[in-house]
Symmetry: C2
Subunit: 453 residues, 2 copies
């Protein structure tokens, strides 16, 4: 049995839904289909979810939401016309959305969640109707009836443990099950949505709950690439990568899947297959717990910029028990989270994302560190990029570091920082932002370019 | 003007003190001489300080200290005979030591400090007497009269700030000043000693207070070596290194000077010259604030073993503000200090010295981390060695990392950890202890061996 999730662009038009139908019905194991709200048909198009949020916000501000309401309805209506769906469907969707619009607004955040969730909920009804029109047994599944219970946190609901057992009984249901992504119900019966990429979360929860063989995640790329295609043209596709590799890569700019979404599937050890709705014959990328063979030490290279380093030095720092902890506590008090902590004997650097603070906070942090920790030097250095070189088993591949650092040296890139030794599957280099692109290209050429004899 | 400090082995016998006399009088700038207690004359010999500690402890236990007392006196007496010093000197030393032995024992730790300090104090009197016998104007300086004030912490006294101004007036005194190392007086007038290598501390304080041009530290090696001579035979000597380089090297096994001892000289920017009493014509090693030329990227390679790594992984750790701080707080509660913290995205390693805890504490730590931080994995890995590759300006020398890691790869050494990017003057590699020697040799050959064309 498979859970199959389709993203917004895979369901943005009638034509796309026809593709989805072909994909689902071509494999009898594709039993549970998780649908997103209609996404963009072209780059400047609106996502239905965004329209719904704006519509809800206008309501709360007591402005007339009619125009936005009509835009939403027209998105469904145009798909319904394209797919020749019966009129009753559109009536049902209109009544549902009007009911939500006129519902209780005492809890504004919950009201917004209720509006947002309609995007997936109504689209699941539409998709189920289309499947039935094609003569296939298909049922819209109401997450409330199915028992998908969540915590009452608007925009950041967490699945409740009891959901898993309840959802398991979906296995007994006949036909294809069309399940709306993105939301669940609180024990009080109210709608709450997951955080962004919430349909991925739903798919992951269902995969785990139903103990399926595979979670297929259809999106609009053929595969996860080994490097950013904007930096290296026509990069190698990754056939298989582990959860850990994906997580390391997604940290530094790879955004195919929202990594938090994968936790339930990850914990249940269910493989995830990323595939392309628009090119379903492409093999795609499989995300697994463990990989049989490594195909060389490196599977992917990712990079991200916008980092800075906070350098603190103090003679004999090394002898001071608690110094690092106190330093981190100061940053925590400013609400800052850090990324990495390369340390020397009498100095320590803390790598932070720059977008967390401005120059005023920077000055305050500097003063507080100097005052409380009696440091010799406190220096912020901006404009740092981090490059992750990722691959299972890399740690025990003698010489990988030498190859990587030689490639950077040959490309005239100075290594500002190396962080290696905790993760077995990655090696991190800090370089100046101006060197980022050149550094990634050099590393890609070292580990991926075919050797020409 | 120079402050010149001689270590215990440089003053262990009459023959050694004759050498000291030659050294001091050969340079009129050698004004202030800091002396240690008589050290070992041969490997199995006792240091006077150790005899004094045992003697004091026997007193406190109400055992007869006579035998140890006589051993101490005999050490001075044998030197006095060798140097043909007048009898009154030995009478003075005997009376001093008897006075201490019979003194107040209400504060046992302060009593031990008082006994320990006599080693330097009486030896300074002896050395001054010898200088005078040779017809040179030389004065024993009593640290109390000179104003060397310290905090009343037995075995770990800290110099009080007002000492510096008071000690400055020693510049006005005529002749050569023989100053006992290792101790000062509290404002209540009681003796307290510095921590280990306390004579180095006294020399460093005097250098700073008297604003001298140079602090000469005479010991029994020709120079600081670029690598441990037990690992690489006949290694290159270091002519000049910076405080920072010395500190990084001393962290991993270089023990020529106690680094805490250098703080006062370091803060006053006074260069320190390490020289050999037994070979004073050897140039020695100069420790400075800044170095004019770098002589290649690497100045020294040091290594130390007995480290372990505590590996902690948790999916999405990276998103948890405060995770690292909480982890460090747990270790701090167990009284453990950490060395380094290489981190991945969802994992973090903490490098600790193994001698801080046993397997029972290890189990407790593991349980507490699992219980409080809800981690996926907590693993201790033992038998790690750290190798420091040290050199000013190394950070901005493109290719140093590549050379180092290539050398390790060629020697078939797997790099367990790299920590680079905080200190500008060092690069740290973690390797398994079994690989330590081979790794250091490979790095030495890479950076120091002459290239044979």
């Amino acid at each position: 049995m498979k859970v199959v999730k389709f993203g917004g662009s895979s369901l943005a038009s009638g034509e796309q839904i026809e593709k989805v139908f072909q994909i689902v019905t071509s494999d009898p194991k594709r039993k549970v289909i998780v649908v997103s709200a209609p996404g963009k048909r072209y780059p400047t198009d609106d996502k239905v979810t965004d329209l719904l949020i704006r519509c809800a916000e206008r309501c709360l501000l007591k402005f007339d939401p009619l125009k936005l309401y009509e835009q939403v309805i027209e998105r469904y209506a145009s798909i319904a016309r394209e797919l020749l769906l019966p009129n009753e469907l559109m009536t049902e969707i209109e009544l549902d959305l009007l009911g939500r619009l006129n519902g209780d607004k005492g809890n504004p955040e919950q009201f917004i969640d209720r509006m947002k969730a309609s995007g997936e909920d109504n689209h699941a009804k539409l998709v189920a109707a289309y499947f039935r029109e094609q003569g296939v047994e298909a049922h819209y599944i109401n997450p409330k009836d199915a028992g998908l219970l969540v915590s009452p946190n608007a925009g950041n609901a967490q699945v409740l443990p009891e959901s898993y057992e309840q959802l398991y009984s979906l296995r007994q249901q006949s036909g294809i099950l069309i399940f709306p992504g993105f939301f669940g119900y609180s024990t009080a019966g109210e709608v709450y949505t997951f955080s962004r990429s919430g349909s991925d979360v739903t798919g992951s929860i269902l995969s785990s709950a139903l103990k399926v063989d595979l979670y297929e995640n259809f999106t609009d790329v053929d595969a996860v690439y080994s490097v950013n295609p904007f930096i290296v043209s026509h990069p190698k596709e990754i056939k298989e990568l582990t959860y850990r590799e994906m997580r390391e890569l997604s940290y530094a700019g790879f955004t195919v899947l929202h990594d938090e979404a994968l936790v339930p599937a990850f914990k249940a050890g269910i493989p995830v297959q990323i595939k392309n709705t628009n090119n379903p014959s492409a093999e795609g990328t499989r995300i697994v717990s463990e990989r049989a063979h490594t195909n060389g030490p490196v599977i992917g290279i990712a990079s991200d910029n916008g980092f800075c380093s906070l350098y603190v030095s103090k003679y004999l720092m090394n002898r001071e028990v608690g110094f690092g902890r106190k330093l981190l506590a100061i940053l925590e008090n400013f609400g800052l989270s850090y990324e990495h902590i390369p340390s020397g004997i009498d100095d320590i650097s803390i790598i932070l994302r720059e977008n967390q603070f401005d120059s005023v906070i920077e000055k305050k942090i500097k003063l507080q560190i100097e005052a409380e920790l009696h440091t010799d030097e406190v220096i912020f250095e901006h404009g740092l990029a981090l490059i992750m070189v990722v691959g299972e088993g890399m740690r025990h591949n003698i010489g990988t570091t030498a190859r990587a650092s030689k490639a950077l040296a040959n490309a005239d890139v100075n290594i500002e920082m190396i962080n290696q030794g905790s993760s077995e599957v990655s090696m991190m280099f800090g370089v100046k932002e101006v060197d980022e692109k050149r550094a990634v290209q050099a590393l890609y050429n070292e580990f991926f370019a075919p050797v020409i004899v």
